[in-house]
Every structure is written in C-alpha cells, then in structure tokens.
C-alpha cells in the first residue's frame, strides 16, 4: 500500500509524492530527497543524531527524531534539516554558516560528525526558544544541559559542544538577562 504526502523541507515544497506506508522520515530524507546530512544512529530514538526541526504553532519549533517517526507526522508541516541552515548562493554553494555552526567549528566540538546534525538542530531550536523567553545568565549551563542531555556523542565527550553553546548563548544579545 502507498500514500501521497506533501510537506515543506528547507523552504522547498515537496510532493505530493507517492511513498509506501510505514516509511520513516529519515528514509524519506535520504532516499527521496537525497538529504543525507541527517544521520541514522541507533534507530530506536535514543541517540538523537537524527533530530530535525519542525515549525510548530505560534512560531515555537519542536525537535523530532526522524528514525522513529513516520512520514505521516510531517505531512503539511515545515521541516528544517541540517542542510537548510547555512546561507547559499544561486548555485547552491554555501556562503555563510549560522552562528551555531560557527560555534561548533570554533570550539572543535565534533570529530566524526555523526551526531553533529542533531546537535545543530537541537541548539538552533534552543536559541529560538531563548529569543522568545530569555533566561538568567546564571542558569545557562542548566538550560543547555536540559536541552542537549539526550544527544549522544562518542568522540569529543560533550564538553566542547556544551562550551560552544554556552559561549554562543552568552554572547548573543537578548537570550539572557
């Protein structure tokens, strides 16, 4: 059995496209859209490497694990993957990275990069939340821990990721008070 689905991915309208029932979102990204930046890790929703952003109600985004979510969850939704963050020119070449991506580069946050797309999406969503609801500077470490604690990294031991996010939040206007 198959079904027709449509959604918006990285500001591009996708579909209606025929897909089989039971198709996971990560398979859709990889096999139908050739967006392979979102990584398949544990396949059980534990490692959070496959996290993408879905635009939610009232401008509040939510993060969703694509390895345990069917495509039905994303129908008519706006989805952002790691490929959708950096600015590109008309030829599709990257011209400017986002502050989150730059922070991770500057802090040497990752090595193999398997978990990086998940960290970037989770951190981007966190930054957007903080822009709407700033937190006390003293609470930043706790806020980061709460947001990123489920993301598993097997290379750098988290410190460089967390440090990068902390510096970014504290040096971005309007996120803390």
């Amino acid at each position: 059995m198959s079904q027709h689905i449509q959604m918006t991915v990285n500001d591009q309208q996708v579909g209606p496209v025929e897909v089989p029932e039971g198709l996971k979102m990560i398979e859709f990204l990889h096999e139908y859209l050739n967006l392979t930046g979102t990584k398949f890790g544990c396949g059980a929703g534990v490692c959070h490497a496959c996290t993408v952003i879905v635009e939610g109600k009232n401008g509040v985004s939510e993060v969703v694990r694509t390895c345990i979510s069917g495509v039905e969850r994303f129908v008519d939704k706006k989805v952002r993957t790691v490929e959708g963050h950096a600015k590109r020119n008309a030829a599709g070449e990257i011209t400017e990275l986002t502050p989150v991506q730059m922070a991770f580069l500057e802090h040497f946050s990752f090595q193999c990069g398997w978990c990086t797309s998940g960290f970037i999406n989770e951190t981007t969503a966190l930054m957007e939340r903080l822009a709407q609801a700033p937190v006390a500077a003293a609470d930043v470490e706790q806020v980061i821990e709460e947001a990123l604690k489920e993301h598993i990294c097997r290379c750098t031991g988290y410190v460089k990721y967390y440090q990068g996010v902390k510096d970014l939040i504290l040096n971005t206007k309007g996120l803390t008070y």
Binding site: E21, G22, A44, G45, C67, I68, G70, V71, E72
Partner: protein, 419 residues
C-alpha cells in the same frame, strides 16, 4: 596407696578435662549456632523487607538507602518518609522489638502515631516470626545519620491525636488467617500480596477518610498521574494473563501483555523481581486465583482500518517504536496486541501515558527501556481521542467508544507531572 591416690587424681583430672572440653565444644557450638541463626534471621528479614518494598518509599531521590525524606503528596498535605536505618540517633536503631512491632502492626512509633501513608494497615497481618526477622534485619542495616523532615500536613490533620481516632475507626491489629478452602501456595501468595506487598494500598479504592474499602478490594483506583489497575482475578483472567506473563512482568518489567510504569517500576525493581521461584508461583496463583497452568490465547491484531481517524497519527508518531502492526520492539517499546493498558474499560492510563510519557526504566545489564515521549503539547483532545479509540479497536476487543469529553476530563483533572 600412692598409686591409688595418683590413679584417683588422674581419673578426676581426666574427667575434669573431659567435662571442660565438652563444655568448650558445646559452648562454642552454641555460640556459633546462635551466630548462624542470627545471620539466617537477618537474611530472612532482608528478603521480607525486599518483598515489602521498604526501600522504595524510604530512600530519597539520589540519597542513601533507607534514610527517608521522600515526599508523598496526600490529600491532606505532604508526608515525608522517615529514616529507618539502624542509626540510633536519627534512624530506628534505638527501637526495642516492642517499639518495632507497634510501628509495624499498630502504626505507633515511640514518637507518636504514624500517618497511614506507612502501610501498617497491611503490615499488621505480619506473623510474629516475620516481624522478628524484619527487626533483626533493620537493626543491622548500615546506619545513616540523617534527620527526618517534618511533614507538611495542614490543620486539622496535623494533630496526631486525630490519627488515634482514625485508627479507632479504620484499623485493628489482627493476625493473618489462611483460607482453609485454598492451598498453602495460594495462602502464601495472599500473605505476600496483601501483607508484605501491601498491593491494596494502591490498587484498592479508598473512602472519603482515606481508608481502604474492603468490598472494592483490588478493583483499581486513580492515584495521581496514573490509575492503579484493577487486579482482581476476574479482570486478570479476562485479559488472559498467565502465570508466565505475570512472572515476566514481575521479574523484567515487561511481558506479553505490556510493561509496568509509574509506581509499579520501583515495585518490580526493588521488590517483586527478588521473589523466589516458589513465592512467585504463590503470588501468581493468588492473583489469578488459579494454580493450574493457563493457556496463552493468541494476541489480537484486528488489522488496520486506514480510513479511521487516528490511523495516520499512529503511523506518524507511534509506529516507529511500537511497530507498524503494533508488534513492539524488544527493550524499546511493548507490543500493543492484547496490551493490558489498552484492553480495559478505563482509558485513563492510555491517555495518561500519551500525555505524560514514561521515564526510562533500567532493570539489569540486559534489560532496560528508553523513555516514551510525552505528547501533552503535541495532541489536542480530538487527536488523543481518535488515537486511543484507534488503538483500542485495532489491538483489543474494546470498542472505540471513548468520547472527547472523557479525554478532556482526564487531561484537565490529572497532574501533568512526568512519572
């Protein structure tokens, strides 16, 4: 003469030596035997304390075992569990056996009446031998110096004299009376479940003054976030629980019929997973009111109705872990066919689990479950109703007869805390 005297002397000396030797041997044996008996008594008490699940309530989050301080929200205010380590200053190390007996059987500690959050209303049926074993164990636990917290019970319930009146109305110390029409194993199960396991404290509804209603024994009741299930033999047999299903549930936290969650996780982790093989069979025989093996009937997957509201929600949000056809995934999510949480008249727990999720559960090095996400801010009442109805008709014999207002009421009334 000399020889005779010597002979007498030698004879006396030998007899004296023999007497002293035998005294030493028997005395030594007696001391060694006493130590052995005491060690056996302590070990027995430890097992009983595990089945009584004392550690679950008397250990604070991240704190020292049995040192107390875990808060319990009651309709009358917050009660904190107390330090029951063998510490003589802050624990119960100074209790005499009589003190301990009164606390366990009458709900009266040397400091006054205990709130019935302490299940003396179940423990009072403990045999004297078991109470002595428990006492031996608790007097030999590792002492932890930690002051007890004052309960935050509002007026007039903070007046402990009121507890005396409550006890007069609702509690009478008595002895466990085996049912002569049942087997020893069934009666042992009844003792373990009703007395030590104090299952009725959660699974039996309470009246307006917080006393268990004996006529509604084990019929289930809403606690806070979750509903303690109906665990009467009628309901368990209707759901086709077998001895093996219950054994799996009580030892690994999951079974053919689903997983435990909420307050049952510590019960399994700390308590029932320690039951001996014989006691486990006694418990399941009592709960099922059947000692014979029970045939496990095929679990129902009634097929998908793709036009039904709720189908797309299931496929988009649930199928990733619970399987496209509800087959579940080991160590991740339970199967849905015949799932006991779905296959029941009450929809409370199904809705509650979807709203609040389930925290990760760890049992041993090979068995653990990752958390189920909470969907309180993802689904509106209509989506929730459609999803729950869809799961009921797809994997159980229940009808899709849950209305939006019922789901709305559950969401409104329940606390949004994650368990």
């Amino acid at each position: 003469m000399k020889a005779t005297s010597l002979s007498r002397h030698t004879g006396f000396s030998r007899r004296l030596k023999a007497a002293l030797l035998s005294l030493a041997v028997f005395g030594g044996t007696s001391v060694a035997q006493a130590a052995q008996d005491q060690a056996a008594l302590i070990a027995q008490g430890k097992y009983l304390a595990e089945i009584g699940d004392c550690v679950a309530c008397h250990t604070p989050q991240g704190g020292r075992e049995l040192s107390g301080g875990l808060p319990f929200e009651t309709p009358f205010g917050i009660v904190y569990s107390t330090n029951i380590t063998s510490d003589k200053e802050t624990g119960i190390g100074h209790y005499s056996y009589q003190d301990f007996y009164r606390a366990m059987h009458e709900g009266i500690s040397p400091n006054g009446n205990l709130y019935p959050a302490m299940p003396y209303t179940s423990y009072h049926l403990l045999t004297d031998a078991d109470t002595r074993a428990l006492y031996a164990y608790f007097m030999n636990t590792k002492p932890v110096s930690q002051q007890n917290k004052e309960s935050e019970i509002g007026f007039p319930f903070n007046i402990r004299m009121g507890l005396k009146a409550w006890n007069l109305m609702n509690h009478e110390d008595s002895v466990f009376t085996p049912d002569p029409t049942k087997s020893d194993s069934w009666n042992r199960g009844s003792y373990l479940v009703n007395v030590l396991g104090h299952c009725g404290e959660c699974h039996t509804p309470r009246n307006a003054i917080f006393a268990m209603e004996p006529e509604a024994h084990f019929q289930g009741t809403v606690l806070d976030t979750f509903e303690a299930s109906n665990i009467t033999p009628e309901e368990l047999n209707r759901q086709n629980w077998t001895h093996e299903d219950l054994k799996q549930l009580f030892t690994k936290g999951y079974s053919r019929k689903g997983t435990v969650f909420g307050g049952m996780y510590p019960v399994v982790y700390h308590s029932y997973s320690h039951l001996t093989e014989q006691d486990m069979r006694a418990v399941t025989s009592y709960l099922l009111d059947n000692e014979a093996d029970i045939e496990a009937l095929p679990l129902a997957f009634n097929g998908h109705d793709k036009s039904a509201p709720g189908y797309n929600t299931y496929m988009g949000y649930c199928a990733g872990c619970h399987g496209q056809d509800g087959e579940g995934r080991p160590n991740v999510a339970p199967a849905l066919a015949g799932n006991a949480t779905l296959d029941r008249a009450s929809v409370y727990n199904a809705v509650s689990l979807l709203l609040n999720g389930i925290v990760s559960q760890h049992y041993n090095s090979t068995t653990s479950f990752y958390a189920m996400p909470a969907y309180a801010d993802k689904f509106d009442d209509q989506q929730l109703t459609d999803l729950v109805n869809y799961m009921r008709i797809t994997w159980t014999s229940q009808k899709a007869d849950i209305g939006v207002s019922e789901v709305k009421d559950i969401r409104t009334n329940m606390k949004q805390s994650v368990h």
